[in-house]
Symmetry: C2
């Protein structure tokens, strides 16, 4: 089985050569001290932790899974110990605010860390990952007392957090949740209801668990405008910040899942549990929306992780396994067969994984640069512009990267042939683990509607134009560059087509809203391929500049350019199919009666 | 969890309305007695067995898996009993020759039975499925004594069979196998070596297991021309056909796999085991090729099974689960949300599953009509033509249908949202079980090379023209039919493009063989989409004729036409992308050095 190696060279290429994060951080007062040396030392320390502590317990965690026994959840062997080390090393507090014990580093650096953790062991990373949701909620909407009691403990990692949204009848349709919150004389609330699919809802890794719960007040309006947010701790805190009385929230069972088996997915029963209102009443969903983008970027990372992890595994195998002869004559005549990396079909799979892993990394890191601005900048206009850009790109990153990450994971299995189906090689686990990424935090279909409906059509294309202008400027800036013509010409054409396709959908949707619904998923995939084309063109341009200047490792930059060429020649044609499907319209989807689907 | 219902209405549409099997069987003397009534009674009895005996132990079989203990394998609860019933009901002998106890029914009827068994419980179906391989081998190449001793027991189902090909270093590259066969004074051989991935290699369902083993004689030439075929029974038969001495072949372990967990995948250790040469020495691979097509059609069925099973599950859920409102206004105003089948994106997934399930069924059944001719016809010319057609279409059916079947299985998970990831719903099992179909019996990549290299380019396009002529005639025959223009025009254009694309690849491959390798997978997928377009156009034509004549259930035929419309509008555009990828050539695949893939 391939051992995870953090792709430090590629991470540094993106952070430094491409995004020039040192300059970027310097432009935001809050992060001005984060220089290149600090960036590199943080990611190198992170890489060591992920390679040495998390990767070795990834497959054993999958085999062992979480154990449930009368309300208690036991995590697999080594999980608790790795978490203890994680807390001691301060990794959980990397990009948390200094005033509550965090290190105050830029969110983008936390994203790089998340990618490594996620690739090494996605299940394990779910536990601290969920704490981020609780941290963000309390930081944004908690009062001073709530911050003092909960935030410090969550940031230090002594306690972990959850997000309790879903109920068995209500996934993305949160307007229909039924969990009740009854006000008590002391200002607290009694929370009653059952939540499902609660990641890290119960476990043995921390002293306390802080649940952020969506519930309805007695007089709440129906639907999404009647939902409030509550803090419900597993143990009520004592006045000195310790762990007090056990609250009446209990894990009823854990799910048996296709993958991420070491991540406890809990049914949580709230039985008149004591909770504390956070944020204004009935504004719970609005409060959640404020950091939904970061949660979705967190899931987008799973796509990158799946592509990177499966690429590493497949590449190791392809450079080691022999089968058949090259079609152009034996490359390894002294052995009875050639290495499978000589075969074009194997290379096609490896390169597909590679361009999704590296392109996806570039997209997520670039997006997180905007997040730094939203989180850290004092310039309201810059914040607004960055937030708009994130709003457009986040559903693309989430849906597109998890879809192509899943494809890449499947290529990893395929490169191994029959061995890919066998658990010990670890390739099939990536497929199983990453399948959830297309479902949670809003399915691909929900993201696609968010992109096309809310972000593009509802803004009359304004949000899209923000980005197509960026691409247009890039194309203009590289117009005279002969080496870049191979990328600029098709990118410019697709950029124009993006606008045209949008216009055509918009026109049709005006008379029939189902036209937007019918187009949404293909539109999202089209948008993803164009977005990644922009990032690959950008990376090629950076690499070509380095080659021209004779700077750095020429072989590395050469491979970057070749990867971009592969992406443009062999991946980008998929946009053609998506456009034609979009133009195919809604009729053939909608005309069949529900009874007509089967007889 | 959705219960499997055999899609009898659709099966009958294909068998009777479309393929008119009664006439077809009547034209082959060996099968002339198989009339419509017999066909329907066989598939109805088969449906009952699959629905009532196999489907109920599908998920429990996955949860329990096979148990290995010191060479013995225990199958999951109920597997043995279901097998006993299967044997008693004579299902294993359906299309086996009458002279050895079979019922002598046409192979195509056996295929319909295999589809139902496979959809109800793929793992279980592997046990009798592997017997087919052994039966075919002994029937084609065994001597009279071997047929008498082994064939009758295999056909009755008292014994089961295996195919022992793969070794740990050699999957599809069988030329490099190392298992040895040493001749003994009594005419038998001592077989020594280790085989892996042996399905049904050891189990508790039958009295004896007949292994068909590929091995090398001491003086065998190197490579594929030095492989011979042996019968190695688990127990040596007694002179009266009973079970005698235990042979020195033993199961060393079973694999832990992603899916088909109830199918025992065995490491088989042959330790000087007694074997009997079957067929001529050193011609083992040739002997195997004679029925490779049927084995691959057997795997193609797994694609159909995955599409059908996941479609049934997803459709049931989509007609029951509510979430969100229709984009065109509430369809279910008295409830708090609409059924998810109102959403275009859900319909897109359901219809994709549906057209792959029904189109794939049509392809496999149609192919098996040619197989009937190859197996049963006395007309040498008709046999040759049918064999040529099968040779071209089989790698397409195997690779394309398993690829799109896997896609359909994933849509099944997606329709369920987060619940799709949970084992109890059964949708994720279909994904895990069917993932193997893209790997065994030759991966997608191997099939693609077989199609483009051996079948198309090596025959200078002759085999392809056999089929494009069929499509051309169909288009001509329907030229004047206004209702058919929507299908005929795009089909005719694609049919022409198929030839053009082939020509372009052929030209490039003449100077660089890697151009064929680089094009192969996309060419295979392109071929699959065109093949299915032909079948959907054909089905639409049949349905339209029934509608015009006012025969039968109009709603059923209407839905068929609508499904064809969906396929042409929403699936067929994918061919555009494949053509452009093919034309993108080999350069971007081959230019990167093996070292350049990662740094």
């Amino acid at each position: 089985m391939a051992q995870y190696k953090a792709p430090l060279r590629d991470m540094q290429f993106i952070l430094h050569d491409m995004l020039n994060v040192e300059n970027h951080y310097a432009s935001i007062p809050a992060f001005a001290e984060t220089n290149r040396e600090l960036v590199d030392s943080v990611i190198e320390a992170g890489a060591q932790f992920c390679e040495n502590e998390l990767a070795p317990i990834n497959r054993s965690g999958d085999e062992e899974g979480c154990q449930f026994n009368d309300g208690e959840v036991t995590t697999p062997k080594g999980f608790k110990e790795a978490y203890k080390k994680f807390v001691e090393l301060g990794f959980g507090a990397l990009s948390a605010p200094v005033e509550h014990g965090g290190q105050g580093l830029p969110p983008s650096l936390g994203i790089a860390m998340s990618e490594m953790m996620g690739t090494a062991n996605w299940s394990w990373g779910m536990y601290p990952g969920l704490s981020h949701g609780a941290i963000n909620t309390i930081e944004a909407h908690g009062d001073a007392h709530q911050k003092e009691v909960y935030l410090t403990k969550l940031i230090s990692g002594e306690w972990t957090g959850t997000m309790c949204l879903t109920e068995s009848h209500a996934g993305s349709d949160l307007g229909t949740i039924r969990t009740k919150a009854e006000p008590q004389a002391d200002g607290s609330y009694k929370i009653t209801g059952t939540k499902i699919f609660i990641s890290a809802g119960e476990h043995d890794m921390a002293d306390n668990i802080v649940h952020i719960v969506l519930a309805r007040l007695p007089d709440a309006p129906k639907g999404t405008k009647g939902i409030s947010l509550f803090i419900v701790p597993k143990f009520l805190p004592t006045t000195d910040g310790g762990v007090g009385t056990r609250n009446t929230v209990k894990c009823g069972s854990i799910e048996h899942k296709m993958g991420i088996k070491a991540s406890a997915t809990c049914v949580m029963n709230f039985d008149g549990a004591t909770g504390f209102l956070i944020g204004p009443p009935n504004k719970g969903l609005n409060c959640m929306f404020t950091f939904m983008n970061t949660a979705r970027i967190g899931t987008a990372i799973q796509g990158v992780a799946a592509a990177e992890g499966s690429f590493q595994g497949a590449l190791e195998y392809a450079r080691d396994r022999t089968a058949m002869r090259s079609l152009t004559g034996a490359k390894n005549p002294e052995k009875e067969a050639d290495l499978i990396i000589v075969h074009p079909a194997v290379r096609q799979m490896l390169l597909t994984q590679k361009v999704f892993a590296e392109g996806g990394r570039a997209l997520v890191y670039w997006l997180s640069i905007y997040n730094d601005i939203v989180q850290g900048s004092a310039d309201a206009e810059a914040k607004k512009a960055a937030d708009d850009m994130m709003s457009l790109l986040t559903p693309i990153a989430k849906a597109f990267l998890t879809e192509v990450g899943y494809e890449a994971a499947n290529h990893g299995v395929q490169v191994y042939g029959g061995h890919g189906f066998i658990r010990e090689w670890g390739m099939e686990q990536i497929v199983r683990d990453t399948r959830i990424a297309l479902l949670y935090e809003g399915t691909t279909q929900i993201q696609a509607l968010d992109l096309l409906g809310r972000k593009v059509l509802q803004t009359q294309g304004a949000m899209l134009r923000n980005f197509t202008k960026v691409i247009h400027k890039f194309c203009q800036a590289n117009e005279g560059n002969a080496d870049m013509a191979q990328f600029v010409a098709p990118l410019a054409a697709l950029n124009k087509e993006w606008g045209d396709v949008t216009m055509r959908i918009g026109m049709k949707a005006m008379s029939n809203a189902d036209e937007a619904g019918a187009a949404a998923v293909d539109y999202m995939m089209f948008s993803g391929y164009v977005t990644l084309a922009y990032l690959w063109a950008w990376m090629a341009q950076v690499a070509q500049a380095k080659l021209a200047a004779g700077e750095g490792d020429a072989a590395f930059y050469q491979a970057k350019v070749q990867s971009a060429q592969f992406y443009f020649k062999k991946i980008l044609p998929r946009t053609k199919a998506h456009v034609e499907v979009i133009d195919g319209g809604a009729e053939t989807l909608m005309q069949m009666t529900a009874d007509g689907f089967a007889f």
